[in-house]
């Protein structure tokens, strides 16, 4: 499946492959030795893919687009929200990521993908309150149509995608979780996002570019 992720497929082919994958998983004939390789987000961007520009409303009332970050080296996209205990456990670490990497050209862009009808805590008004209380130094955007989360193949919060900018193109370099200990920042041994960004800053390959975590499933709007 890593092969699949690395293979450049045009969007319809990717969609088809994803559907085939889902159908295969649904067939209930998986071997006991789970040989099937991981595919966290069958329909979203893969490593190396160029990302489409997006424009979302920020808690300060202004609209922020990815293209606004054309002077930096990339961006750290963090799908997060107010209500999720995992997002809250990582909140200070997300703030620290921005403090550390914004000045080096990798600012954090927070995006809340949840349907506020499902979680009142995730409403735009409550996003403003949270950003003010915690003094967010980065944009905290509302993905009201959830199109951005879908494009990135996000399924849960928190979920991080590190992008590298070349010209006006942003490409996916890392997707997954922030580090290897959601419960206790003091006991972390692997800082996946930091390592990825540091490697990019050093002009080196990212290394481990996809990780998994338990998180809060994104609540999708019912169509």
């Amino acid at each position: 499946m890593l092969l699949f992720m690395k293979t450049k497929l045009n969007p319809p082919a990717r969609l088809l492959a994803g559907l085939v994958m889902l159908l295969t998983l649904g067939a209930g004939q998986q071997p006991v030795q789970n040989a099937a390789a991981p595919l966290a987000n069958p329909l979203g961007y893969g490593i190396g893919d160029a990302v489409a520009n997006f424009r979302l409303k920020n808690v300060d009332g202004r609209t922020v687009s990815l293209a606004d970050f054309k002077d930096g080296k990339g961006a750290i996209i963090v799908f997060t929200c107010n209500h999720c205990p995992f997002s809250r456990a990582y909140e200070d670490r997300v703030i620290a990521l921005n403090q550390r990497f914004m000045s080096q050209g990798f600012p954090v862009i927070g995006i809340n993908p949840n349907d506020p009808a499902a979680y009142e805590e995730d409403s735009f008004e409550n996003m403003k309150v949270r950003a003010r209380e915690k003094g967010y130094s980065f944009p905290y955007l509302a993905d009201e149509t959830q199109e951005v989360a879908r494009a990135f193949g996000a399924t849960r919060t928190p979920y991080v995608v590190v992008l590298k900018r070349e010209g006006d193109k942003f490409t996916v370099q890392y997707m997954g979780t922030i580090d290897d200990n959601s419960q206790d920042a003091g006991s972390v041994t692997h800082r996946y996002v930091e390592d990825a960004v540091n490697n990019l800053l050093a002009g080196k390959p990212v290394g481990l570019n996809t990780t998994k975590s338990v998180g809060c499933a994104i609540k999708w709007k019912t169509v």
Partner: protein
């Protein structure tokens, strides 16, 4: 009068003891223990449900799991609800919920923090979102992970081929 007070207190103590006896305990487990359980060569079908008290769809799914557990009584099926809550919320969140809902399926709390490693060890097709249900029958060489909340009928349909 005094004797009735004594009798009443005695009754209260008995009730409290009975309550204690039925109230489910939630054991904290690590991955190796669960792995052993998941890889046992047995003809029993195991239904593992990964959930958390903070996960709304998980809580909505619990009654269906409980009902199916009752419905397949006497068959070789074992249910295990695996809470992914933080271990420091065992007393404050997990136990109160397990008791207020009078859960009859056994519940454990999986205390592992390195999820990137853990999730693939449990099932490589799992992205990590909750709830997730893993059904295993080794003798039938069958295994299936379902990464979404299921209702009673969906659960039954998923379980049937394992029985």
């Amino acid at each position: 009068m005094i004797s009735s007070v004594i009798r009443f207190s005695f009754l209260l103590i008995l009730l409290a003891l009975a309550q204690r006896a039925t109230a489910q305990q939630v054991r904290v487990v690590k991955w190796p223990e669960l792995q052993t359980l998941m890889s046992q060569a047995t003809d029993t079908t195991y239904v593992f449900n990964f959930w958390a008290t903070w996960c709304k769809p998980c809580l909505q799914e619990l009654p269906a799991l409980e009902a199916l557990n009752q419905a397949v009584r006497g068959q070789k099926v074992k249910f295990l609800l695996i809470s992914m809550d933080f271990v420091n919320q065992l007393e404050s969140k997990v136990l109160p919920l397990v008791r207020s809902r009078k859960l009859t399926c056994p519940v454990v709390l999986l205390n592992e923090t390195d999820h990137n490693t853990l999730i693939d060890q449990i099932d490589r097709s799992w992205s990590g979102s909750l709830p997730a249900t893993l059904i295993i029958n080794h003798q039938k060489n069958r295994r299936k992970l379902i990464e979404r909340p299921l209702n009673f009928n969906e659960l039954r349909v998923e379980l049937t081929p394992f029985l």
